[in-house]
Subunit: 336 residues, 2 copies
């Protein structure tokens, strides 16, 4: 005799009894807090005591689980990190689930646990949410949206703050998330110790800001380091000069990208930050990053310049250089 595996059915999205069951049995036990437990249409929160920062991301990564994380961890890190990069202390998340009929309830529990664990780690509360269910074939398992509210602690960050001579830093090796997801898809004919860099950046970003002299922070997710750096300087009078041999790429990531014909500079990171700092602040920021878990590999990879306005220029060890454009096409679809 086989035991039936419990699955999500359309009833769970009705707004009726089954929806209430899902909330009471799976969601509240994982996330319960004063604001959420009230189950109003919206969460009433304490005064922020400063300017709100607001961000959102939807997550459609496939497969839902990969070395180093899963769609739940990613959904928390993605929005938490966006808030951090905007100079905020992340405080509250909303969580909206689009579930596919037939999703094993155990998968949902695993993802919800992962969300709860990562939220605790990042110091944020899940205070409001929503659940929808679509028919079989309508959502590839599950999609997740999070939105987040933080309070601004570092005003004035942004592209406009960049100055010629600024240092370009990265908190660790690049492209791990992209490579790990490709491995999880079975698109690599190798067994590697690839693991996603997926992690919340609340401590690293706070430490960088405390060290001083930070002009701009971003996490290089979709499109990778190359695309993100292009966004820093496009349509402006500045350029970024990157030193190819200064950019940290793990051997396994490099090998995986070689096999797939990809460039690690365009592969997504989900727990790395790029920081542009005043030149004289670079060493202090690097020291602050290196002192923290996830920042041990922080290093300087380039400099803001003026020679090639609007461009990102990669300088090779042999003295050559080439322009790194934005990602064209969909190098790595559904990476987050």
């Amino acid at each position: 005799m086989e035991t039936m595996q419990p699955i999500i059915t359309m009833d769970y999205g009705s707004g009726g009894l089954r929806t209430a069951e899902l909330i009471d049995e799976i969601l509240l036990p994982a996330f319960g807090n004063a604001a959420l437990n009230d189950l109003g249409d919206g969460a009433v929160l304490p005064d922020l005591g400063g300017q709100p920062v607001f961000s959102t991301d939807s997550f459609v990564v496939t497969p839902w689980k990969f070395p180093g994380g899963d769609i739940g961890k990613l959904a928390v890190c993605g929005t938490v990190n966006d808030l951090c990069m905007a100079g905020a202390r992340p405080l509250y998340l909303s969580l909206s689930l689009i579930l596919e009929e037939g999703l094993p309830t155990d998968v949902l529990r695993t993802v919800v646990d992962s969300i709860a664990r990562t939220a605790r780690e990042a110091g944020v509360q899940i205070v409001t949410g929503d659940t929808k269910v679509v028919e079989r074939g309508g959502a590839d398992g599950l999609y997740i949206n999070t939105a987040g509210i933080g309070v601004l602690r570092a005003p004035g960050l942004g592209r406009k703050a960049l100055q010629p001579g600024d240092a370009v830093l990265v908190s660790g090796s690049v492209g791990c998330h992209g490579a790990a997801v490709m491995m999880a898809r079975g698109e690599l004919p190798m067994e590697g110790n690839l693991s996603s860099d997926c992690r919340p950046l609340h401590e690293l970003s706070a430490a960088a800001l405390a060290a001083g002299g930070v002009h701009l922070m971003r996490d290089p997710t979709r499109g990778g380091v190359a695309t993100t750096l292009n966004e820093f300087v496009e349509d402006g009078s500045l350029c970024i000069d990157l030193e190819e041999d200064a950019i940290p790429v793990d051997v396994a990531v490099s090998a995986a990208c070689d096999l797939l014909g990809l460039d690690p500079l365009y592969a997504a990171c989900e727990g790395r930050m790029l920081a542009v700092t005043a030149s004289e602040s670079a060493d202090a920021v690097l020291a602050a990053l290196r002192a923290l878990p996830g920042g041990e590999g922080a290093c300087r990879i380039g400099t803001v310049g003026t020679e090639r306005p609007g461009k990102v220029v990669l300088h090779t060890p042999l003295g050559g250089s080439r322009i790194l454009g934005k990602l064209t096409g969909a190098q790595l679809p559904r990476i987050c």
Copy 2:
């Protein structure tokens, strides 16, 4: 010769050039404002000057267009109304799109225009967003998530504020949204002048609060009036007595529900509000609602009592009564 219809491709979700095109050509022209134009990872907003209220909803309605609205209008109204019902003035929305490869670009433009128009009507700004693309078959056209931030203007609303003798009001006829979507699906063998009630409730809720004596507001979306009223009293010592012949149901909705074997009391509304007020405030709140567009049909439908703790009791014109439970099963899947 046929002209190729422009469609969304996987490239639009890459985070690279095509994503930037989508943002620059379709999204920014529709929503542009100072916070969004900055295109940082998060939107930095002005101090709210009060307590934040935070809410989110994902929208998976099928079909994407129906009489009286579309998924874009619904996505704005849904979250705006949740904020309003929680006693907030809605201020800011995030917008996250999950697009299916192959979606005609014209459909996206239509939906985006609808979002922009409804946001203007409701007085909210779209300040941050995200776009993902999934392969053909992965999202039934498009799914939308909105999250919203408002500022609390009426503290103390909630189930705990209910008192025996309180009046139960509704701002207009019930079940129109559910019936209109079913008609759009071609599930009704009739041509009717059914139209969704989908609309932002910012003015109606503000007017009700200004009139005074409001204890609780909710919009009866999924699960309809019956399910929402159950949530007001479940697990408590109060009940709600409804007068069946006082509940406004449009003739076309009634006919459609008859044909489908549905009960209008369980059909979704997306632009109606239930308000529970102190008995002596009911007339003033009704007058305030009736003076506004969308509130012309406001009426009193019941009373908070104590006889059947935790229950919603429907009293029929002939003197009978029956318990209205929460919706069981998925009466109307993907209604919002």
